[in-house]
Amino acid sequence: MAPPHTYDAIIIGGGHNGLVTAAYLARAGKKVLVLEKRPRVGGAAVTEEVFPGFKFTMFSYVVSLLRPEIIRDLDLPRHGLHVLPLESTVTPMENGDYLAAWGDHDETRRELYRHSPRDAEAYDEYGHLMHHMAHAVRPILGMVPPDPTSLDPRDLLGLLRLGRHFRGLGAERLHALVKLMTMSSADFLDEWFETDVLKATKSASGIIGTFLGPRSPGTAYVLLHHYMGELDGVFRAWGFAKGGTGAISEAIAAAARGFGAEIRCDSAVARVLVKGGRATGVALENGDELSARVVVSGLDPRRTFLELLDERDLPAELVADIRRFKFRGSSGKVNVALDALPSFTCMPGVGRHHRGAISISPSLAYVERAYDDAKYGEFSRRPYMDIVFPSMIDPGMAPPGKHVMSVFVQYAPYHLNGGWTDAKREAFGDAVIDTIEGFAPGLKSHILHRQVLTPADIERITGLSEGNIFQGELTLHQLFFLRPAPGFAKFRTPVRAYYQCGAGTHPGGGIMGASGRLAALAVLGDGA
């Protein structure tokens, strides 16, 4: 007789999805253990005091699409989740002008009108269409992807529901959806707008986390994500979390603990124990072995399948699929401690624009050129950047009167010519700061400390393969029933009692928690 298992479920990795899975399993009465290799939970959603008094949202920096049902089911507000508004986006232009989108509709319209009366009108129509499309696509985020090749009644039913859903859209919207799925964001936006800086700023949201440029086909789809955030509207699942993204992880961890889950930090898992095609527990790097009825990996597909398991336990096709799965980390992060806010040439002084995003995307050509550098293995000399000042949204992020600046940077290819070195990292950091300095002269004199994170650093610190922030690119051939591999998109694996719950599964990255929840429901549905 086998000895009784110590745990009902062991979750490998205390990222936000792993924590969500743990919380749902514990909520269902399971005895759950989360193992996190780092000293704190959160994975890429962590807040760290890197420089005394200055708290950095180290990697991920905004809440994007955190599922409302998770917020409710886990009672996250009671555990400290507080999402603050991040309402404006200002794009400084190279001629000293700017384009701004404010929280108020009339004001944004008037601002757009300044650039193009035609675009000011198109903007509303475009918004209306995207709202409908997002409404149509959103249910998919919360559904287990049906396999179109399977004859399993559950898959057929799922496909039927999906088919009905899309037919219900009507011709015009279905056509728009197909365009969104296939076109480049630049081409799609060209159909609507004439203002270059508007198209550049909008298209930038389509390239985040991918190794593609705004003129690469397939990038239009991600434009929808922004509108999905707006759909939650008043629910506000989009914004800046008080205390940074680490506070989201802490809230989910508190909820999980509240349901009885145990969370151990500084506990790296070396491999999953498999006996007779079934997972039986894990071996830690320190040699300890822990047994569980079910093991769930929150790590990315490469580590979930190829590092934690012995390849011999897996079908050869799956091994090949996972080897081909594209990570190609393309973004970096620069976190800066400031003694004063920078003054932008286009909007001198300190103003409300410091409470929103500053997008360094002055033209489509600028963003595409940034991609060109990366295509040939270099970081962008003049990168696309999304800048926020967390201390202006939550003053607790920096000492009173001081500030932190979070700079998301693209492109910084993981596979850099000659590889990443300390010197290259600093050169990359210089390129970032120099570029911002061009739009905000004097910035450099306010810098107290800077932290530069390349994709290689992201991989080294968080474990994310190739530093991809989404656990694998969010491109169409890696989404839905293809994420992470055909036949294994339902959170299960070929190894019985071994599940996957990370962003490498449907519906992918961003602090959504959707895959974590769906994985927990899969585990519970299997009667584990």
């Binding site: 409710r72 507000p77 507080h82 929280g103 108020d104 004001e107 509207g233 008043v234 939550d394």
Partner: protein
């Protein structure tokens, strides 16, 4: 201008982006400074919000019989309060029905300040018959600001150059202080259910005080905020509002429009042990028989709300501004009460309301239904009776 402006108006008017003003006791105060009150609301819960609360009616009550007068008028035991304490209290008519509610600050031996929503000078004079007490209305002479939110203490400590920690200034206590040389009284009170303070100042010094607080508070995220933001916060805190959640018995046209403190969840303020006070006999009786109504919280069930909207093909629409209308509450086919204030709580991510329910239906956890209009049609959403307050952070008292 027919309506009056407060002593802070030169500053608040300059900040008003949308010219959105609300009437309050004959004055105008900002509804919101920005075009949306969203950020102002969040500053209450995340940083610090600064409200102009000058329109409150304020009375100085002094003399050897000051406490006796107040004890005759209000339900709480004023005689037992220490100097430096602040009491929240309702007051009633002879029938035990609520006239008004406000605060009493014990400023010194025989020296009290009463604040109220309605004018009460005549009522105080009537009750002062035969007592050695001086009454003075100081509403216009005294300006007031309310600084509310987790950073409120840090800001005031810098501004007043003194310790205001929980040990130095307890919840519902006050102290005299100086801010940049301006004499003020700081009370640890507010209408948000959060860590917060109210600052009382001579109206002539209002503007320098405002400037000092804004300057000191800016590194801490101080944000001038208006009544729309306050309304959401006070509902989260379960704090009732006169003429919205209850009618003053002074204005009621029929008996059914009146409420007693017991019916309004204010039983804790009724000191039946006191020798005599307005409404005591009726309140003693009501306490024995148990109030017919209860004032309680309601949390609207999200799934039910989402379904009502999904039925017409829409995502849920939620009231971002608090509403203040009477909304029927049902249990099965029967109406068992009515909600008087409600709205979406951006912090709790819940649609919440304050409601009057027949006592048997007011037990926390009871499932009821609230009327909601979806695309011009009256529907009912499931809701659950919830204990008040909805939000009660430790920092409020610590």
């Amino acid at each position: 201008m027919i309506l009056r402006t407060t002593p802070f108006h030169p500053r608040t008017a300059a900040l008003s982006e949308g010219q959105a003003w609300r009437r309050w006791a004959g004055y105008v105060v900002a509804s919101a400074y920005e075009l949306s009150h969203d950020r102002e609301y969040h500053s209450i819960r995340s940083a610090a919000a600064l409200f102009d609360v000058s329109p409150l009616h304020k009375y100085m009550i002094t003399g050897p019989d000051a406490a006796r007068l107040l004890d005759r008028v209000v339900t709480r035991d004023v005689g037992k309060a220490n100097v430096g304490q602040v009491l929240y209290t309702p007051w009633c008519d002879a029938g035990g029905k609520q006239l008004d509610d406000g605060t009493i600050s014990v400023l010194g031996e025989h020296r009290y300040r009463l604040t109220s929503a309605d004018p009460n000078l005549r009522w105080l004079h009537l009750n002062a018959a035969g007592l050695d007490v001086a009454l003075e209305e100081v509403s216009e002479r005294t300006a007031a600001l309310s600084l509310q939110g987790p950073n409120a203490r840090a800001i005031l400590q810098v501004a007043a150059q003194r310790d205001l920690s929980g040990g130095a200034l307890k919840y519902f206590h006050l102290t005299d202080a100086k801010i940049r040389g301006i004499p003020v009284t700081i009370s640890r009170t507010g209408y948000t259910g959060d860590l917060g303070y109210e600052i009382w100042v001579d109206a002539a010094q209002a503007l320098p005080l405002w400037d000092a607080l804004i300057e000191t508070g800016t590194p801490y995220g101080i944000t001038p905020a208006g009544m729309l933001a306050l309304d959401v916060a006070r509902i989260e805190a379960g704090l009732l509002l006169i003429e919205v959640d209850y009618f003053s018995s002074r204005h009621a046209l029929i008996e059914a429009q009146k409420s007693s403190p017991f019916e309004l969840g204010l039983g804790w303020t009724v000191a039946l042990g006191k020798e005599q006070f307005n409404g005591k006999a009726a309140l003693v009786q009501e306490k024995q028989r148990g109030p017919a109504w209860q004032f309680t919280g309601l949390a609207v069930d999200w799934e039910s709300l989402e379904q009502l909207y999904a039925d017409v093909g829409l995502p849920p629409r939620l009231p971002t501004q608090a509403w203040r209308t009477s909304v029927p509450i049902y249990s099965g086919a029967r109406q068992v009460g009515y909600a008087t204030s409600g709205g979406w709580s951006p912090l709790l991510k819940q649609y919440i309301a304050l409601a009057h329910l027949e006592a048997p239906f007011a037990v926390p956890g009871t499932a009821v239904e609230m009327e909601i209009t979806v695309e011009h049609h009256r529907k009912r959403a499931s809701a659950r009776v919830t204990k008040l307050p909805f939000f009660n952070p430790d920092r409020k008292r610590v």
